[in-house]
Amino acid sequence: MATPSVCTTPSGLAVMHGSGRAPVAGRRVQLMATCLCDAFHDDVAAATVEVLEHLGCEVDFPEGQTCCGQPAFNGGDWAASRRVVRHAVRTFRGDEPVVVPSGSCAAMLFHGALLEFEHEPDLGEVEGLGRRTWELGDFIVNGLGVRSWPGMFDSSVALHRSCHTRGTASGDAVALLLRSIEGLRLVEFGEAEQCCGFGGTFSVAFPHVSAAIGDLKLDHVRAAKPDVLVSGDTSCLMHLAGLAAREGIALRTRHFAQVLRDALPGRP
């Protein structure tokens, strides 16, 4: 009988990450915009820049950036994924925090990548990038120590806590910021802990189940009648908005970075 001696799964990493990290010192950050913002949702990346600059951050955007490697990781093609992660490691050199407006991409870098690099010689470098990587909400609240947001956002908001922020500090951080905005009312909705059904390649490999899960989320959100559905992950919003559009349902979606920016004084 095999007698393994170590537990090889770095489980609990996501928990460790995001919650217990020391605040950051300087104000220089590197922005990882995400491939979805690069291709579809440019305004989310723009809002992220404006929010970070409002907080006094000097935002560096490494031009060579592409993707975090998650599509291939989830698809099972770990060799392809590792090539992309290695590219990210090369692109985001230095020691500044890497801030990403996505819980999913952040989790890929501080958790997923460690799984696929477990037996690779450059695991250390990947861990290094993971340690510097912050989801935006977590960064603002726990990295910079900001606990309230100025301005005004006169709307009721349903906050979808994306699945990749389970066990991290991100969900609470985003809720804290949103709640602090004048005029913004968070509304609860049913089965909030359930997934939106996106799941990356899952959405196209299991279109029926994926859409059925998304439809349930839409039903719950709509029953709460929010003015706007907000999340920290563009991918969840893109899935839900895409379903709603196809079904002729009116649904306003915003990334929380857009909400923060739009709340700032002097914004329309």
Binding site: T3, P4, C7, T9, P10, S11, G12, C37, D38, A39, F40, H41, D42, A46, V49, E58, D60, F61, E63, G64, Q65, T66, C67, P71, A72, N74, G75, G76, D77, W78, A80, V84, H87, T91, G112, L115, E118, C163, R166, E191, E193, Q194, C195, F198, G199, G200, F202, V204, A205, F206, P207, H208, V209, A212, I213, A241, G242, L243, A245, R246
Partner: protein
């Protein structure tokens, strides 16, 4: 369109079945959350501790198994080892043959489903009656369970009443009390006629050799107390180190599985009837079943052997809720089954290599697991294994071109610009299956590739200075 088997099964599920599964799973999850967080300030610490204990057992099975064998033997039980399903079935048969037994009653044993014991015994002229109400209904309908602890979660009471009527248990009556009464009446004399009682084991305690069986119907007690011979089928991973660990595990399994503070019947059996005891079986046999578990132990997915079969991951899983248990083509459905079932197949892994893909990787399964199994990580590892073996995965986009673009910034930027064609061409003219699968259910937002980069350059120019790093 290429489709994954589980996606097809979910699409084919009748609205009635889907509603039954969804509601049953949802209610199970909600009650679990209420009782667990109502009773404990920090249930996550309990889950973590229980996970560590089980992981310790899994990694030290080579010392625990001989220890438990010695303990059971000292208690007067006979221990058998079965490496395969076939060997396990033969072991049960041999015990019955030696006693001239023709009839057994069964309770709480997923392993017997796993090794297809019922079919085996039937072939050999032995009647094996399921005595858990749900399992009994499954047996009447010649079906398979669709949930680990609620085997008939996919059925509503009308369907059950019809089944009972067909089986000659009385005229149609869908009142749950009546259904239970009828099953009970039918079973009562079966216990007395049975030559042996077969149960599973929720836990096997190493230090005492105590077999622990957790039930809510009391039928396991009839199986092991009313018969002269008690046979236990237990997977080799069922061990926990000490009796005191039961305090943790019994509290967690009842709350995670059925949202109870404690299950109604908790049987603690450490051996056959001792001299001086008035009742109980004269013989006790414990059959430890490997059936692929040692192979799982040798992989980087061995954490799955911590599982205590509570079903919490099924209840919370959005995919299980849509597809139901039968879609998984396995005794163990849902997230845990998606990991365990292909692994238990060993060499025949390919037959169920699609199961680990049936997940959005939402992580809810890990969040509710009473032994904190990192199920999403294990699903991902199995996807990696399937890919490395070159197994096809219908609908999963190939990643070659993407990884090429994503490692060459100039090509990436060109693709960002080139993607604009999506705004001008109808999707049906674009031969990309992933795009079509997306568009089958959702709209694609307008392509705005490169717009952010342009915006940022302009902003920097206006701000006068601050350069973005050239690549």
């Amino acid at each position: 369109m290429n489709a994954q088997p589980i996606d097809q099964a979910a699409a084919a599920l009748s609205p009635e079945t889907k509603a039954a599964v969804y509601e049953g799973a949802k209610v199970g999850h909600e009650k679990r959350t209420k009782v667990l967080f109502g009773d404990y300030a920090d249930p996550d610490r309990l889950r973590t501790l229980a996970g560590e204990i089980k992981q310790h057992v899994v990694e030290n099975l080579d010392t625990y198994l001989p220890a438990v064998e010695a303990r059971l033997a000292a208690n007067g039980a006979q221990v058998h080892w079965a490496s395969t399903a076939e060997e396990a079935c033969e072991a049960v048969h041999a015990i019955l043959r030696a006693r001239g037994g023709k009839r057994i009653v069964k309770s709480k044993t997923m392993v017997s489903e796993e090794i297809e014991l019922g079919e085996y015994l039937e072939k050999h002229g032995i009647e094996a009656l399921e005595t858990d109400l749900g399992e009994f209904i499954v047996q009447l309908g010649h079906e398979r369970p669709s949930h680990i602890i609620k085997p008939i979660i996919h059925k509503n009471r009308r369907q059950i009443a019809e089944l009972f009527e067909k089986a000659g248990l009385g005229p149609y009556d869908e009142e749950p009390g009546m259904i239970t009464q009828r099953a009970r009446r039918f079973m009562r004399h079966k216990y007395l006629e049975a030559d042996a009682g077969l149960t599973g084991a929720n836990f096997v305690v190493a230090e005492s050799g105590r077999i622990v069986v957790v039930t809510n119907e009391g039928n396991a007690r009839f199986c092991l107390a009313a018969t002269r011979c008690h046979i236990v089928l237990a997977g080799i991973e069922k061990i926990i180190p000490r009796d005191r660990d039961l305090a943790l595990f019994l509290n967690l399994i009842a709350r995670s599985g059925t949202a109870q503070q404690i299950s109604v019947y908790n049987e603690f059996v450490s051996g056959p009837r001792a001299p001086g005891q008035p009742d109980g079986p004269d013989e006790m046999h414990v059959i430890f079943v490997d059936n692929g578990r040692t192979d799982v132990l040798a992989t980087d997915c061995r954490d799955i052997l911590r599982c205590i079969r509570c079903g919490a991951c099924l209840n919370v899983c959005p995919v299980y809720r849509q597809a139901g248990g039968h879609a998984y083509r396995s005794v163990y459905p849902g997230p845990v089954g998606a990991v365990l079932s292909p692994l238990l197949l060993g060499e025949r892994f390919a037959e169920k290599a699609d199961l680990p893909r049936a997940s959005s990787l939402c992580g809810a399964c890990n969040e509710v697991c009473p032994v904190n199994i990192p199920i999403p990580d294990l699903l991902l590892r199995l996807r990696g294994r399937a890919h490395d073996k070159g197994l096809p995965s219908p609908g999963t986009p190939p990643m070659g071109l993407w990884s090429l673009l994503a490692t060459q910034p100039a090509a990436w930027r060109a693709a960002l610009a080139g993607g604009r064609i999506l705004n001008h061409l109808p999707t049906r003219l674009i031969p990309v299956p992933a795009l079509r699968a997306w568009e089958a259910k959702r709209e694609l937002p307008p392509w705005r590739g490169g717009e952010f980069r342009k915006w940022l350059k302009l902003r920097r120019k206006r701000q006068g200075g601050g350069q973005s790093r050239p690549q």
